[in-house]
Subunit: 536 residues, 2 copies
């Protein structure tokens, strides 16, 4: 594996240069009319972490390391809070040991060591959590982070059933390139794709890039194999079943508290050939939302049905800042998609959307790169590039006091206008109070027949050294507004340590009690990712 940056999104080679950081400082200074002093990115060499408090047994020594850089990489995810703390070399509670099992037997051995010793055992996928999903707990004498990157193979392909048996530690790009050898794809592209793993997606109920229908990883799981301190949990491979509550649905979303997902049979598909896309503009976000609602309620199931408000449409798709943009896309391996996009565009136009016929792009995959790239041109293509690049841009903005983050939820359509109003108000009001102003924007990442998944982005210029407190105040206000307006505290970023206070308000109490006894059954010594989802 390439050496990961201990603070920035991506690898060490993705860390910004002093020149890039200077440019970002100039841009933000101009935008916020302040003077900003550019900083240099921190170097690994200045890391000086708490000495490891425990030593692995000799049988595990080969797969364990405790060097500072590696432990720093495994301390924080990639949220705003994480980036600031890591940039500031603020690592009071790093893991003591990073274990890298090479097979399931070694996963069991590491878990057994932790379980018998009472050390916290923290499953680690790609490290891109934005919710402190693998941040070590305070109250343990030993912390072992179990990095599953060694379990990185597609083990078996069942071409006729379009399923594959895949190891949990495989990263997105490796998964797709191994499937591509057989002509298949899983087509699950969360924004974290480069730095997240199959096991991580399953443990956090990842949301893919499809905007409608089967897009959550939940729907792609055919069976799960999980190592728990109490033994192996493995469900039968089945396309569907009505035999009792689904065992998989307990593993899916369990955030590492019940076991370590070592393998799963996943539904895969043929690679798309036929594509169609359109970017339809609307005078208001609400008008675009009506169109998105009608498109999804017709059950045309577009692969893309993302709505950007005027701020996001300007920033990400080069629009003029007065209009909302609804991105529509269809794809298929077998069937031309021209007529599907025409249906969707007609719905959008009937509800006040504008697009010229020439901007409806349709491709049968035969026209080489320019045709094959439908969905990668114009406003649609601009948005796509911006989406993929967004996490890297944030690297450049560290160390300036800048406060920015995203928040996501889902809510039924009837409550969406209130949620949109209340969350924007909470964000703007707290940005004004805390930062003296700032920007709020929103898009829909996914739409369901019964509601959208709104994704908010906020930014303001804070004070260097006070960013974390400023961020916490804004996050609190907006999260309270999400809960009060009927939303979920997370649609696809997971709960982690960050969202626990709101998660505790939204799940049924009896469900929490149930999860607690399930955990006690599977993890009797309470070592797996303690503090996530429930208190032991």
């Amino acid at each position: 594996m390439a050496r990961r940056s201990f603070w920035a999104w991506g690898n060490a080679s993705d860390e910004p240069t002093a020149e890039q950081m200077k440019k970002a400082a100039e841009e933000l200074a101009a935008r916020y009319k302040v003077s900003l002093k550019p900083v240099s990115p921190p170097k690994s060499s200045v890391l000086s972490l708490r000495k490891p408090r425990i030593t692995p047994p000799s049988a595990l020594a080969d797969i364990c390391v405790s060097d500072d850089h590696d432990r720093a990489v495994h301390t924080y995810g990639r949220s705003f809070r994480d980036r600031i703390r890591a940039f500031n070399i603020d690592f009071p509670n790093p893991p003591d040991v990073i274990a890298r099992p090479r097979n399931e037997r070694e996963v069991e051995a590491v878990l057994e060591w932790c379980s018998t010793s009472g050390y916290a055992a923290i499953p680690f996928g790609g490290g891109s959590s934005t919710v402190a999903g693998f941040e070590p707990p305070e109250e343990y004498d030993g912390i072992v982070t179990i990095d599953l990157e060694g379990l990185n193979q597609v083990l078996e392909i069942d071409a006729v059933s379009r399923s594959a048996r895949i190891q949990g530690g495989i990263y997105g790009p490796a998964l797709e390139s191994q499937l591509r050898l057989h002509g298949f794809t899983m087509r699950h592209y969360p924004q974290s794709f480069e730095f997240s793993t199959l096991g991580g997606w399953i443990a956090t109920r990842s949301g893919g890039h499809y905007a409608t229908n089967q897009t959550h990883i939940d729907d792609m799981v055919e069976s799960v194999r999980m190592v728990t301190p109490a033994g192996i949990w493995e469900s039968r491979r089945l396309p569907g079943s009505g035999a009792g509550p689904s065992p998989d649905r307990i593993a899916i979303g369990s955030e590492g508290i019940l076991g370590i997902i070592t393998e799963a049979w996943m539904r895969i598909q043929a690679r798309p050939v036929f594509r169609a896309s359109a970017g339809v503009t609307f005078p208001t976000f609400a008008a675009g939302a009506e169109a998105a609602r009608h498109v999804v309620q017709t059950k045309l199931w577009p692969g893309n049905c993302r709505l950007l408000d005027s701020v996001e449409a300007a920033a990400a798709a080069g629009m003029d800042g007065t209009k909302s943009l609804l991105l529509l896309g269809f794809e298929s391996a077998e069937i031309p998609q021209g007529e599907f996009i025409q249906h969707a565009v007609k719905i959008a136009r009937d509800l006040g959307g504008s697009i010229s016929d020439g901007d409806i792009k349709v491709s049968d995959g035969s026209g080489g790169r320019s045709q094959g790239e439908t969905g990668r041109q114009g406003a649609v293509g601009a948005w796509r590039d911006s989406f993929l690049n967004a996490p890297y841009v944030k690297n450049h903005q560290a160390g300036l006091g800048f406060v920015t983050e995203t928040m996501e939820t889902a809510v039924t359509w009837d409550r969406w206008p209130e949620l949109d109003r209340e969350v924007r108000a909470a964000l703007q009001e707290s940005l004004d109070r805390v930062c003296g102003g700032g920007t709020v924007s929103c898009r829909f990442t996914h739409v369901y027949t019964d509601g959208p998944a709104p994704y908010f982005t906020f930014e303001g210029m804070g004070r260097l050294g006070a960013e974390l407190e400023m961020y916490a105040e804004i996050k609190q206000a907006a999260s309270d507004a999400i809960l009060a307006s009927g939303g979920t505290i997370t649609h696809h970023h997971a709960v982690g340590r960050l969202h626990r206070p709101w998660y505790d308000q939204q799940r049924p109490d009896l469900f929490a009690q149930s999860l607690k006894v399930v955990k006690r059954t599977l993890d009797p010594n309470g070592v797996l990712n303690p503090g996530l989802l429930i208190d032991a």
Copy 2:
């Protein structure tokens, strides 16, 4: 409510006449070349059940009854075993009391009475279980069956989100007629539709009539409200969420062991206007299966994609007995479906299917009844009528020693040929051994990208008085074959008491242990539907 038959499918008024039973006897005698003595249907008046062993507290007296007919109706479901036992007036272990709470408070009161007294509390929906889902357990001193027919209202409609809050005890027809007043439909039509309830569908993971995509009730649930002995379990209304494991997915499929589902928010939709259908014939079942697989793997998501083997195509759709029949159907409230069916038919033809262009029926709903009935004509319509009528036909065949039942499963496509071969062989071999011959047939009720849900029907002429043992031997052989071939013991009929031995083999042991501790948490005295899914 109309008075239910205590032995036959349907109401007392649906019981066959002596003339109908005579005709059925003649038909079966001719088919099996045996001589059969027609019998008369049993009368309620001969019922003489064990005296009720318990008396409800006075506060509940108004909603409790203990008359023999009512207790007989609540003893058995509507499987073959149930019909034979009821027809033979064989009721050794009926419930002692039937409680009919009129509201949630009364559900709580009944549960509290059972919980504090240690009586078995058995939730009862529409009474059409085919897996002994509400059959009383032996080892209890008191059995209270809680019939939820009083909770029969659509309480609230959210038209913009296309969701409705609906009480758990509502029957299919009432649910649809109340939704129709608002222009909506849920479009969930299990074969038991007339005699099953929303709460029953959720508790048993009912499969609807849609053959692809979102058809299991699981996908239509937005939130669940459940009364448990430990209190109320209610999830937040959400179109999607990534906040921990889904609480709903524990309630869905819980078969009454965790709580009583009093309400749910369900996803609803506009009533279909545009329809298209086609019945494509294939020379073999395997060829039709390839077509069904390709249609579902293209993700066209037809509402109907049922494949009948040559036996079923002859019996249910009037075909000549040499060909398989693939029933394709599309529907939409907003979008003409002609082009969708053309795509599906093209796939089917490319794989060896035959249909004349004139037999592809397309309707925009504007042509009055004849047009609007697309999907109700020709082979497609014949199959539909046969499907709806099937449970009633069995009423006529009771009391003759005839052994017949259906069995259903789901399996990945790669293992389907083996499962088809092995289950047919197990059925035929055991029918030959037990009944001296018989008939086996199969259809696909649902198809997924990764596998079909095959539905087997078998029949043979047994010996009057020995039918239950003969049936048990056949069921055992075929169920063993399903498990050995990688299938699930049930795709949509649920586990019940009937499928426990095979369910116990297929679910992860650690899941059973988990479910056990969840039950202990929600139902500390172990009174809810004891013996289902797990042992206390």
